[in-house]
Amino acid sequence: MALGMPRVARHRWAGLGFIAPFLVAFTIALVAPLGYAIYLSLFRQQLIGGNTFVGLANYSQALSDPQLWASLRRVALFLVVQVPVMLGLALMAALALDSARLRWAPLYRLGIFLPYAVPAVVAALMWGFMYGSQFGLVASIGSFLGVGLPDPLSGSWVLASIGNVVTWEFTGYNMLIFYAALRVVPLELYEAAQLDGASPLGIVRWIKLPSLRPAIVVAAIFSVIGSLQLFTEPESLRNLSPNTLTPVFTPNMYAYNLSFAGQEYNYSAAIAVVMGIVTMIIAAAVQASGRRRFA
C-alpha cells in the first residue's frame, strides 16, 4: 500500500474520520450542556458563602416541590389523552392512504401533512386567535349553531385546546411515518393472505398492524417526549390567557421561568436533569411495553 499501512487499518481511520465532525457537534450540543447541567445542579447560590456545593439538595427540593409535581401531572394528563388520539387518527389516515381505495390519495397525503411545516409558534398564534374572545370566532360559531360554546382558553378547557394545537401540528407527520412503514411491507405477505382468502379488514388486522408495530412504538416514544417537553404552544398562548396559563403550567415553562425570571439557575438545572431522567424512563417504558404487547 502506498501509505505502508494495512488496507483495513486505513479504512478504520477513514471510518472515524467520517464520524469525527458529528462527534464534535454532538459534544457541543448535547454532552457538554448535559454535563454542565449536572454540575450546576449540585451547587447553590447562597447569601453567605456565595456559590456552595450542596450535593443533592436541589434534587430533594425538586422532589418535594408541589409546583413541579402539579406541572408534571398536567403534562401526564395531556400525554395520556393527546398521544393516543393523535396516533389513532394518524394510523387511520395512513391505512386509508395505503388501501388503494382512496381517490386523490396524493392530495390527502400532502394536504394532511402540510401543518407539520407550520412553526409551533405560528400554529399557536392561529389557533389562539381563533379561540380568543377578541376575534370571537368560537362565539360566532356558537351563535350560528345556536349553542353557547365554552371559552377554549378557560381553566378546564385550556389543556384540551393545547392538545388540539399539537394534534393539528403532528397528525400528518405521524401519518406519513406510518404510511412509509406500510409501503415496505413485503408483497409476498399480501399474496399469501389473499390465497388464504383474507378480507381487507383481515389484512389490516393480521398483516398491516403487526408490520406497523416498530413504527408505532417509535412514533409513541417521540410523541411522549414531545408532550413531556411541552413549552412553545402554552407559552405562546399565554399572551391570551395569562391567568390560566401560569408560568409554571408545564415543567419546561417552570425551568425556563426559574432561570429567566428568578435567576435560580442551579435549581432550574436540577429540574432540567430530573425532567430528562423522567423522560428517558417513560420513553424506555413505552418501548418495553410496545415490544411486549406485540411480541
Binding site: 447541567a37 387511520m92 398564534l125
Partner: protein, 286 residues
C-alpha cells in the same frame, strides 16, 4: 395482482373521512389567508372565516415588511441564516457520520452507536437552559453561533442515514472504487453521496423544519431583537398587544405569520418529490 397495486372501487366512506381530516388540517391555514387580507379594524368586526371589509393584503404585507425600520426582513434573513447553516450543517454531519457507521468497522464503533442512539431520547428542550448557561460562560450567548451550533447535531438524522446507507450503498461498489485507487473521501463524494440522495433529502426535510420552526432555543439565547428569528419576533409582536402601552398590531402578526410559513411550504413541495422517490425505492427493493 396484489392488495397494494390493485385498483379497487373507490370507497366513499374513506373519501369523506379523509376530507374531514383535510378540512381540519387546512382550517387554520384558510383562516390565516382570509385574515391576512383584513385591516386591523375588520379583524374584530367581521366573521373570521370569510373575507370582510377592505381588501388589505398588500398594505398589510407592506406594513409588515417596513414596520419598526424593516425589522421583519432582518428576522427573515436571520431565519434563513440559521436554517441554511444549521439544517445544512446538521444534514452534512449526519450524512458523513451515518455513512461512516454503516460502511466502516473501527474500534469504539459500538460505544459511539449506543451513545448516539441513546441521545435520540434525550429531550433537546430540557437541555436548552443548561446550553444557554454554558454558552453565556463562553460568551457565545446572544450571537448567531448560539442558535447555529446546538442545531448541528441531529442524532435522529444520523440514525436515518445509517439505516439508509446500509442498503443503498453496496459495499462491493466502495471496494471496487478502492481497487481503482480512489480515496475514501473521493469515493464518498463521487459515488456514495449520489446513492444516498433520497435519504439525505429526508434528513434535510426534518432538519429544515426543525431549524426554521425553532423557538425555545433562540428565545433563551438571544436578547437582542436584531438577531431574532421569525418565530421569536412574531411572538414578540403578538405579546406587544397585551403589554402596557404596547401598540396593537394583530394585522401584522397575522400577515407576518403567513409570510413566514410560505417558504417552508414551498421547500416542502419541492423536497417531497425526492422524498417520495426515496420511499418508492424502499418499497421496490422488497
Amino acid at each position: 395482482m396484489t392488495a397494494r397495486t390493485r385498483v379497487g372501487r373507490h370507497s366513499v366512506t374513506l373519501g369523506v373521512l379523509m376530507t374531514v381530516m383535510l378540512a381540519y388540517a387546512w382550517l387554520p391555514l384558510f383562516w390565516l389567508v382570509v385574515n391576512s387580507a383584513k385591516t386591523q379594524a375588520s379583524l374584530f368586526s367581521t366573521f373570521g372565516l370569510w373575507f370582510g371589509g377592505r381588501f388589505a393584503l398588500w398594505s398589510n404585507i407592506h406594513q409588515a415588511l417596513t414596520y419598526d425600520g424593516g425589522i421583519y426582513v432582518r428576522w427573515l434573513g436571520n431565519t434563513l441564516l440559521y436554517t441554511v447553516a444549521g439544517a445544512g450543517g446538521a444534514t452534512f454531519l449526519a450524512t458523513l457520520a451515518g455513512y461512516g457507521l454503516a460502511k466502516y468497522d473501527f474500534r469504539g464503533k459500538r460505544v459511539i452507536a449506543t451513545l448516539v442512539l441513546g441521545a435520540v431520547a434525550v429531550p433537546a428542550t430540557a437541555l436548552a437552559v443548561p446550553t444557554f448557561l454554558l454558552f453565556s460562560q463562553l460568551h457565545l450567548a446572544n450571537t448567531p453561533w448560539s442558535v447555529i451550533l446546538p442545531s448541528l447535531a441531529s442524532p435522529f438524522g444520523l440514525y436515518l442515514i445509517w439505516v439508509y446507507a446500509a442498503d443503498a450503498v453496496p459495499s462491493e461498489l466502495i471496494e471496487a472504487a478502492r481497487i481503482d485507487g480512489a480515496g475514501e473521501v473521493r469515493t464518498f463524494f463521487t459515488i456514495s453521496l449520489r446513492l444516498l440522495g433520497p435519504g439525505v433529502v429526508t434528513v434535510l426535510l426534518f432538519t429544515v423544519v426543525a431549524t426554521w420552526n425553532n423557538y425555545f432555543l433562540p428565545l433563551i439565547m438571544l436578547s437582542d431583537p436584531k438577531w431574532y428569528p421569525l418565530t421569536v419576533g412574531l411572538n414578540e409582536w403578538n405579546a406587544q398587544a397585551v403589554t402596557v402601552g404596547g401598540q396593537t398590531i394583530f394585522n401584522l402578526v397575522i400577515t407576518g405569520s403567513l409570510l413566514a410559513i410560505i417558504p417552508v411550504m414551498i421547500a416542502f413541495l419541492i423536497m417531497q418529490r425526492y422524498w417520495r422517490s426515496g420511499l418508492a425505492a424502499g418499497s421496490v427493493k422488497q
